[in-house]
Symmetry: C2
Subunit: 164 residues, 2 copies
DNA sequence: CCTGAAAGACATGGGTG
DNA sequence: CACCCATGTCTTTCAGG
């Protein structure tokens, strides 16, 4: 299930193009890759079935939605036992301010990426939803100046440039 | 430009649905929201023009691409001046292992989310691309046990459930 | 904001190297 | 077996009210 999948250069080219614009038509994709549209459809359908493509996501601008401030919260949950951390993660995931939650190695058990309206909103979030909780031993807040998304995700060793 | 945008309940409902499945057809969206398909198209086009919708992204499974290990690297860049950090960020963004880069407040200037093949690959990445660099004063590596994506991003105060 | 029609994309089945 | 071509169906898109 979690095994790696064999991908030929055509698959990689398709994935690269789709990561730039996931709504590109199969016709356009096929033209750029140099195969027929139906073949392109077959390829992408297979990538979906094999689990390489998990889904299609909308990228939104948090600032345009009135969430101009983003932060990372490092959270220690003590004691770090299943019956405590399970509900903790679910509660945090359900917060409208939460974007992503990471469970990490190291002294800070969880990293929570949040988007809030402003500093007062962030203060309220930290005080009411984190430090006031018994299971939360410590919270460290870092503001995000800027965020960059990186190039397309490709298998190790795959060249970044399209072939030919 | 960065200003917030007025969104009525129909817009919010559309955004919620599209965040679940960004490739849903306008026909299906319209049926669920209770408007005509053409109106739905108008709405989404306006959301795109106004910048609320930045784009459509493919969600891939890093493990299926042979990148089964993810980590967060906290990086101190010293001295923290523009002529050093600009190239640093661009170089890191260009790494095939890099997923996201954050510029943060606090003692750790940058947080880099990476996906690698295995522990040896991570070691190589840290040693060759980070600690060997003159401008990198310190790197702290934390492994990611698990990652959760959270609910749809909505404006502050917007109810999470669609309107009855 | 809806209706309706035209243009276009998707998805299937059959044929070829 | 992977690919291409042709076709019916559905979706998108643009008038007009």
């Amino acid at each position: 299930m979690g095994a790696s999948v064999v991908l030929d250069p055509v698959d990689l080219h398709l994935l690269r193009l789709l990561q730039n614009d996931a709504r590109a038509t199969y016709r356009d994709l096929a033209a750029q890759v140099g195969i027929a549209a139906s073949t392109c459809l077959d390829r992408v359908a297979r990538l979906r079935r094999s689990g390489v493509i998990l889904g299609h996501q909308l990228r939104l601008d948090p600032a345009k939605l009135g969430r101009g401030l983003q932060a990372l919260l490092s959270v220690q949950v003590r004691p770090h036992r299943r019956e405590l951390v399970g509900p903790f993660v679910e509660r945090v995931r359900a917060l409208p301010e939460a974007l992503t939650v990471f469970h990490l190695t190291g002294p800070d058990d969880y990293l929570v990426h949040v988007a809030v309206a402003d500093m007062a909103d962030l203060q309220r979030l930290v005080l009411d939803e984190f430090t006031s909780r018994r299971e939360v031993a410590r919270v460290e807040t870092r503001l995000i100046f800027q965020r960059w998304d990186c190039g397309p995700l490709l298998p190790p060793g795959a060249s970044g440039a399209p072939p030919g």
